[in-house]
């Protein structure tokens, strides 16, 4: 129904517009003989008055919207930093709205007041150094205040997390989020995109899904076996094709050959990982657990470590006033300390259905607008309860399987250092994630 109404409005407006064109056009052709550039005093004055009328309507609707929608109907910030941000907003709004109102007023009032008058001559006033100094220095002063306050808040926001901040990984992919809690040791297990996947072992009949590419000795075994299987299957198909058992196009076969080559190269890179992580590092993953929703404890500081599997995403918590992009192949971080539980927020907003949310705020594909994760803030007790509910999987550590034959013993030797080398995912991020076990 709404649609039909709008279509109707549009049609009516279109007709009015066209009629207006015709009418004005007729009017002006009647007046032909009068030059287009010579505006009659009356026309000029109408425009002058419209300047004032517009100003009033403009400001009127501004105040109406300010009153009706305020902070876009967002409730008070629900995080510690968010409150500082809101305070800074208010200071800035005062300055900026003052400038907006006063300069727009001057503009439209002058336009109205100094409308053409045949008996007056414009005032010759080409420049005035003193005035120009004034309106260079005053904005500069105001901006100095804005800059100083802004940078102070910025430094606070981006500062190091405190020692008792909980580390939680937020992992983005088209088009959902996964959270990984770092467990009792508050250290995330290492991860590498090359290990990611779901694998089956035909010998033992076991299977293992490594959704976040977490590193462990066994997950490397699984991955290599997985690749071995994939390659074997492909090769078999190619062989069959060579024996004319299948009727694939040449392009398809070439595609498969390319794929085999690629998998072999990736396998080589996975094999390089063997021995790069010793037990002291691998064990970080042991107590990690994953969830597809985020449960946070009130007044607990969190240090989110963000990763992405595919394209850019952005973790956006409007109620915490917090946002950070998720960049493939890189780690970014975000500090949040919620200060109201979901329940408290429901009371504050007077909305019994209120919930926190994590949205994706960087265009990431066709279903970008559906990429979200539910967020709950509760007490420690509630969290402990939640922690052991069904949806929360512990890291599902891989079962031990026999090492694939192509893991030769030479490679298995542990080097001294726990980690070194250039395996993309882990060691080139020099961000704060490092010290705190942000791996």
């Amino acid at each position: 129904m709404g649609m039909k109404f709008v279509v109707l409005v549009v049609i009516v407006l279109a007709v009015i517009a066209v009629a207006q064109i015709m009418r004005v056009y007729e009017l002006s052709s009647k007046l032909r003989g009068k030059r287009e550039e010579e505006l009659s005093l009356k026309t000029n004055n109408i425009n002058a008055s419209l300047m004032l009328v517009f100003l009033l309507i403009f400001f009127g609707s501004f105040f109406y919207m300010l009153f009706a929608y305020g902070r876009g109907m967002l409730p008070n910030a629900a995080s510690e930093i968010g409150q500082d941000i809101d305070w800074l907003y208010n200071v800035n709004w005062v300055i900026v709205i003052f400038v907006f109102l006063s300069t727009n007023t001057l503009l439209f009032v002058f336009s109205w007041k100094y409308a053409y008058d045949p008996n007056r001559r414009a005032h010759w006033f080409p420049h005035d150094n003193r005035l120009e100094m004034i309106w260079t220095i005053i904005p500069a002063g105001a901006l100095a205040v804005i800059i100083i306050l802004g940078l102070m808040t910025w430094n606070e926001i981006t500062g190091e997390p405190s020692d008792d901040a909980q580390i939680v990984e937020i992992y983005a992919k088209q088009f959902d989020w996964t959270a990984r809690y770092s467990g009792d040791d508050n250290k995330l297990g290492y991860s590498d995109y090359k290990l990611l996947g779901t694998f089956e072992d035909s010998e033992s009949g076991k299977s293992y899904s490594n959704a976040l590419g977490v590193v462990s000795h066994n997950s490397i075994n699984w991955r290599v076996k997985g690749i071995n299987n994939e390659i074997a299957e492909l090769k078999e198909t190619i062989e069959k094709e060579a024996n004319n058992e299948l009727a694939f196009s040449e392009a398809r076969v070439n595609q498969m050959i390319t794929k085999v080559e690629k998998l072999e190269r990736i396998r080589e890179r996975v094999l390089d990982m063997v021995g790069m992580y010793d037990d002291s590092v691998v064990k970080f993953a042991d107590d990690d657990y994953m969830a597809t929703e985020l449960f946070l404890v009130k007044d607990q500081e969190y240090y989110f470590v963000l990763r992405s599997q595919d394209v850019l995403h952005s973790a956006y918590f409007p109620h915490f006033r917090a946002q950070m992009n998720c960049v493939p192949g890189q780690r970014t971080t975000l500090r949040v300390k919620p200060i109201y539980t979901t329940q408290e927020m429901r009371e504050i907003t007077g909305n019994p259905d209120f919930n926190y949310i994590l949205m994706c705020n960087k265009i990431c594909g066709v279903s970008h607008s559906n990429m979200k994760m539910a967020v709950t803030v509760g007490t420690q007790e509630e969290f402990d309860e939640w922690r052991y509910t069904d949806g929360i999987t512990s890291m599902a550590l891989p079962d031990t399987i026999s090492a694939p034959s192509n893991l030769n013993m030479e490679r298995m030797k542990m080097p001294e250092a726990a980690h070194h080398g250039d395996h993309g995912d882990d060691h080139h991020s020099d961000d704060h994630g490092h010290e705190n076990g942000g791996h």
Partner: protein
């Protein structure tokens, strides 16, 4: 200066082809840019109305959508999700590059530089012609990409990788993106050739007496814009070429450790952030490439129609130069939440907020120019006043965004969309309209209907603010941009969902009204071009040199000798003078002060 070289102009006969198609005359080329840009703008407006329909009435069947998009992209009259992103992307690209860069600079730099500096033509007519035809070609390619089977580029006008690299990530990153990249590369070539030509012309072909300190502010603006373009567009070319290599040759400049659609990719070691830096190194100067010409045009128009010298001429030049310089060191403000080093973020906060100072100086100078003026509200003047208003409104939200701590909360929301539309969609577009109304007699030798112009202005001003003002509130409420719909809001806050939906309906209705209002302009433009009242030589009683040329175009602009300049262009209402204007060609009276 090199006047003699051109005196044979105007003698040889021109065929239809050399006059209208492959013209090397700057006036004709300016008009070609303008008409092409108007066409592109119509397309871009229609695209925006299509996605505004979806935003206001999500999921409802709509015959307008079926009509324009057919069953492929609007099955049952409901906009396809992928196509929604395609529309947004191409709308933005066309508006920023094809309308406000090619259209604005291309039209007015071409038309006005030779006319206002007293030159017979551009330094190189041939390059100028090539510049237009490259622009034309790139426009065709960009439009053609809308008809591709897999859809046009759909990664947003900023085409951030890896989304723009892999067609498995989004269908638009297949052929559509290839077309986008090709089109933009050609576009940039056009823009560079044009800019070099403008720079050389301004530096070398000014007529006798026209010192740089006597140049109209229009020319200063075009000149500086061209310099910004020459320094920044090449960086976009590199960005685009690197992307083409990542897409086609398996290099990893921008990509790292990705798994797309379950398929593990080998590319490793690059960074999408590198692309963001390259893109915004052009992207920010680009916003001033868009705005400065508009400011230049309105400086001239406001002074002429207030019958007053522009206040603080030298300060105006100074602020153009300051803005140009600063525009190169602020790009990081688009990347506050990209994971960039926070210290670097702080530096960008500082440089960005500095830009507000020269911007404020410009605004105050405009306002002072109006003070005690004698204002004639021609349509051009109306649009210029509209420009100043929207420049204030959009400038102050820029200050909010420049504060990194605040930007975190609204980055990539409709607040940003509102901000840049107020400065581009209002200010820069208003500047373009103002320029068209004001210099129409120089382009077509006829006048546009001023009453229609006024109706057009007031409808446009109200509907444009009606679209973009509420958008700030949607954005502050945390509504992300580039969302197909806001159904996620229903899940967590029904009140807010309601607010967004209400405002979205208001916005879309204003968008439709504003779009329709442009029919008045189109009618006025095309009707007046052929049937409008014949113009007189100097209809607005202006001082600049273009008003000393004959109404009918001649090759070489002035039939006889080139004019000689004796004064600055802003001697309006000078005490002691008979008339309220003194053209630049009038010698200083004995004892009269140069400005």
């Amino acid at each position: 200066m090199s006047a003699a070289a051109h005196t044979d102009h105007g003698h040889h006969k021109e065929s239809f082809i050399t006059k209208y198609l492959f013209s090397q005359d700057h006036k004709m080329i300016g008009k070609q840019f303008l008409v092409t840009a108007i066409f592109m703008a119509i397309v871009a407006v229609i695209l925006s109305i299509l996605f505004r329909i979806q935003l206001a009435w999500p999921g409802e069947s709509n015959s307008v959508l079926s009509f324009f998009l057919g069953d492929t992209w609007a099955p049952d009259g409901v906009l396809d999700r992928g196509m929604y992103l395609g529309l947004v992307t191409i709308h933005g690209t066309i508006m920023v590059f094809f309308v406000l860069t090619g259209g604005l600079s291309g039209t007015f730099s071409n038309l006005l530089i030779p006319l206002q500096i007293g030159a017979r033509d551009m330094a190189s007519g041939l390059l100028n012609m090539i510049s237009y035809w490259l622009f034309f070609l790139s426009s065709i390619l960009m439009l053609y990409s809308l008809f591709l089977e897999t859809g046009p580029a759909s990664a947003g006008w900023t085409i951030y990788p890896p989304l723009s690299v892999y067609e498995e990530a989004i269908p638009g990153s297949g052929a559509g993106m290839t077309m986008w990249l090709t089109s933009m590369t050609i576009f940039i070539a056009s823009s560079l050739i044009g800019s070099l030509n403008y720079i050389v012309t301004v530096l070398n072909l000014r007529t006798t007496g026209l010192k740089m300190t006597r140049l109209p502010l229009t020319i200063w603006a075009f000149f500086v814009t061209a310099i910004i373009g020459v320094l920044s567009f090449p960086v976009l070319v590199s960005a685009v070429v690197l992307m083409l290599m990542d897409r086609g040759l398996g290099t990893s400049f921008y990509v790292n450790d990705t798994i797309i659609n379950g398929e593990i990719l080998e590319q490793s070691g690059g960074s999408p952030i590198l692309y963001e830096h390259l893109f915004w190194f052009l992207g920010h100067p680009e916003v001033y490439i868009v705005l400065l010409p508009a400011l230049g045009l309105t400086s001239e128009i406001i002074s002429t129609n207030a019958r007053k010298p522009i206040f603080g001429y030298r300060a105006m030049i100074g602020s153009i130069l300051a803005i140009a310089f600063l525009s190169f060191i602020v790009w990081g403000h688009h990347m506050f939440v990209s994971g960039m080093n926070p210290f670097l973020g702080g530096v960008f906060v500082f440089t960005t907020l500095l830009i507000a100072i020269p911007s404020a100086v410009k605004v105050f100078n405009y306002i002072t120019t109006l003070w005690k003026g004698n204002i004639r509200f021609t349509p051009a003047m109306l649009f210029s006043i509209g420009l100043v208003s929207s420049f204030i409104t959009g400038g102050v939200t820029g200050i909010i965004l420049a504060d990194s701590a605040l930007d975190i909360a609204v980055h990539d929301t409709y607040f940003v969309v509102a901000h840049f539309h107020v400065v581009m969609g209002l200010s820069a577009i208003f500047g373009m309209f103002a320029g068209i109304y004001h210099w129409f007699p120089k382009m077509y030798g006829r006048m546009m209907n001023s009453k229609l112009g006024m109706v057009h202005f007031w409808l446009t001003l109200v509907s444009a603010y009606g679209v973009f003002f509420p958008m700030h509130f949607v954005g502050i409420g945390g509504a992300p941009r580039r969302y197909y719909d806001y159904s996620v809001y229903e899940l967590f806050d029904s009140n807010q969902f309601q607010m967004i939906m209400d405002l979205n309906v208001v916005i879309s209705i204003f968008a439709i009204v504003g779009g329709l209002a442009q029919i008045i302009f189109l009618f006025n433009f095309f009707y007046s071009a052929s049937k409008g009242q014949k113009a007189v030589q100097n209809p607005w009683k202006g001082n600049t040199l273009e008003w000393t040329t004959p109404v009918e175009h001649v090759h070489g602009n002035w039939p006889g000798e080139l004019p000689v300049v004796h004064r600055w262009p802003y001697d309006y209402s000078k005490p002691g003078a008979e008339e309220d204007y003194i053209p630049q060609t009038v010698p200083l009276a004995p004892g009269e002060e140069d400005h």
